[in-house]
């Protein structure tokens, strides 16, 4: 429950470090795009993007350490709806060639 925890706030330097980390990961994405890895190019790009999104959600959006159940519910439902978008779209893409 909400025991006035005022988020688990970190120092400014911590957020700066996360921000720099995000920039480094962006540079890595750009760099990786210039290396021909065949089918692994999109996999690497998506992997880096997922790490970046996780950092933003956990720290910049204060989800890590949040005491509210509601915050958790919002995050879970966001991912649930993303899963609906992906799975039902794939229900089309993966079965298009079936005859």
């Amino acid at each position: 429950m909400s025991e006035h925890e005022e988020h688990t706030s970190h120092s400014q330097a911590f957020y700066l470090a996360i921000g720099i980390g995000l920039l480094v990961l962006t540079a890595t994405t750009v760099g990786a795009a210039f290396v021909n890895l065949g089918p692994f190019n999109p996999i690497i790009a998506l992997l880096i993007a997922t790490i970046k999104a996780t950092l933003v959600v956990l720290f910049f959006m204060h989800v890590k350490g949040a005491s509210e159940k509601l915050t958790g519910a919002v995050v879970v439902s966001g991912f649930f709806f993303l899963a609906i978008l992906l799975s039902l779209s794939l229900a089309d893409y993966l079965t298009r060639s079936w005859r």
């Binding site: 709806f81 229900a91 298009r96």
Partner: protein, 553 residues
């Protein structure tokens, strides 16, 4: 409590009490207000402007279709006209209308709160809406768009040479306005309910707006991303939707309808909430199956996300996916039917009075049922293949969006007008206009079901002469409908000055919003109410005199 501003001119007749309308008369006091009721009025004015603009384009469409030849405008102009009509009506009228006007006004009042949780974000949402609207008007005046409101690729990315990016940007910004409204409602409903107002005592209008807010927050980002992708492909030729560049045009339709189908529920759910309030009040009875009606709103919000590809049955999606989506589309019919049957069951053996809001509620039930049932026909793949992109589809979604949403909105606007303005509207004029709207609506759109079924495609400016009779009927109906919409604007404005002063609770309605004065003070309640009763406790509330109409029993 924050200090209140003293009205500038106190020479007027003695106002009984300081309320939100006379608390500050300057333009600044309106444009920088954080009062949810004033923001609701700002929204009311702006959505009304867009409604009549969208209606103007609708009349141009109907005038062109009066004759089989393309004699009023060129094909290109016609494409732009129906695109403008669709975009304005969907993004700048139907999506914001009930949540941003009635919801903004009523959510805090109904739950016994002083304001929304984030009053400044609420004002920001209106400014974003105005920014988006201005951008769209600029786009319209500098040539417009011709992609249809759906922005379908590859036409929107490689075909059209109109202002697609500007229109997309307007939709993007308007989307954020709607996200802010949704966010505000969710936090307010969770956090700011009056003591004793538990979830199972909430008015159904609140449940409906809560479900709507969930869709706004979860769905709107997807349309925002989608229009950005269209812009990126148009500007930088990145292969996202264009098959020549390795993209997939159907990906656009998947992403677009993932939001835009639930967007239909953003439009209709709040209106359904309004109808629940109206029926309970004018039948003087608790809504039958309260919990089912409340939960059906949430069910519609969730199921609404599972059905989008029924817009794509003929677009080339896999047959297996089509079967899944067809089945899921039928499932949305269940919670919708729960609502319709429960409203009807509420009416059974109740004490009905036929005031104007109730006439609109009856109109809603009839028209929404036709719209919903033809939706089931369209969810059937076999029928959908036959009538895709015909006037049958046009008629179907107008029955839901105009017959449903607008009926609910007008019913709600009349019902809460005494609370909003502190004045009563002229009842006989209002009844006349409700009748005109109902007759005009059916005359406009019922012939379109037949036209579509016999094969008239949508989005053409010419048609074979054998379709003319039904098109003339439709155009005639649209003129009646236009009068039906103009009348309320005239007499509601008239009532602001000349209408009889409204009491706090002229309808003898349940609900916290009726326990404060009409119009309410800036912070809604002098004392925070404590709720010790169930919603719609009409057996404990005496009916006012004018509601005890002859023939009511």
């Amino acid at each position: 409590m924050a200090s209140t501003v003293i009205p500038a001119n106190q020479t007027l007749a003695p106002t009984p009490k300081l309320n939100y309308l006379n608390n500050g008369h300057t333009l600044k006091s309106w444009l920088l207000t954080t009062d949810h009721k004033r923001i609701a009025l700002l929204y009311l004015i702006s959505v009304t402007v867009f409604f009549f603009l969208g209606g103007f384009f609708a009349m141009l469409i109907r005038l062109e279709l009066l004759t089989p030849q393309g004699d009023l405008m060129q094909a290109d102009t016609y494409n732009k006209v129906f695109t403008m009509h669709g975009m304005i009506m969907v993004f700048f009228f139907l999506i914001p209308v009930v949540p941003a006007v009635l919801g903004n006004f009523l959510v805090p009042l109904m739950i016994g709160a002083k304001d929304l949780a984030f009053p400044r974000i609420n004002l920001l949402s209106w400014y974003l809406y105005i920014t988006a609207g201005t951008l769209f008007l600029h786009c319209m005046l500098t040539g417009g768009v011709d992609t249809g409101w759906t922005f379908y690729t590859p036409y929107s990315t490689v075909g059209s040479n109109t202002n697609v990016i500007e229109a997309g940007l307007a939709v993007f910004i308007a989307g954020f306005s709607s996200i802010f409204t949704g966010l505000n409602f969710i936090v307010t409903i969770h956090r700011m309910r009056a003591p004793g107002l538990t979830w199972d005592r909430l008015p159904l209008f609140i449940w409906a707006n809560y479900a709507t807010s969930l869709i706004m927050i979860l769905g709107t980002p997807v349309i925002a991303i989608t229009v950005v992708l269209v812009a990126v492909e148009r500007l930088f030729h990145l292969g996202i939707f264009d098959p020549r560049l390795g993209g997939d045009p159907l990906l656009f339709q998947h992403l677009f309808w993932f939001y835009s189908h639930p967007a239909v529920y953003i439009m209709i759910l709040p209106s359904m909430g309004v109808i629940s309030e109206l029926i309970a009040c004018f039948a003087r009875k608790r809504i039958f199956g309260y919990k089912f009606v409340a939960l059906s709103s949430l069910a519609i919000a969730v199921f609404g996300f599972l059905v989008w590809a029924h817009h794509m049955f003929v677009a080339g999606i896999s047959l297996y996916a089509a079967m899944i989506f067809s089945f899921l589309s039928f499932s949305v019919g269940v919670p919708s039917a729960v609502k319709v049957f429960n409203w009807t069951a509420t009416l059974y053996k109740s004490s009905i009075s036929y005031a104007t809001p109730m006439l609109y509620a009856f109109g809603f039930i009839g028209l929404f049922t036709i719209g919903g049932l033809t939706g089931l026909m369209l969810a059937t793949i076999g029928i959908d293949v036959h009538v895709t992109d015909t006037y049958f589809v046009v008629a179907h979604f107008h029955y839901v969006m105009v017959g449903g949403v607008l009926m609910g909105y007008l019913g709600g606007l009349h019902f809460w007008w005494p609370k909003i303005s502190g004045r009563m509207y002229p009842e006989s004029w209002a009844k006349l206009s409700a009748l005109l709207v109902f007759v005009g609506f059916n005359l406009t759109f019922f012939p379109q079901f037949i036209l579509g079924y016999v094969g008239m495609p949508r989005r053409y400016w010419q048609y074979p002469p054998e379709f003319q009779v039904l098109n003339v009927l439709s155009t005639a109906g649209s003129s009646v409908l236009a009068v039906g919409y103009l009348l309320p604007m005239i007499y509601l404005l008239w009532s602001l000055k000349y209408g009889p002063i409204a009491e706090a609770n002229p309808w003898g309605a349940a609900g916290l919003e009726w326990q404060t004065t009409s119009p309410p003070p800036t912070f809604n309640f002098d004392e925070t109410p404590v709720v010790t009763w169930e919603a719609y406790n009409y057996d404990e509330i005496p009916a006012p005199k004018q509601l005890e109409a002859p023939g009511a029993r």
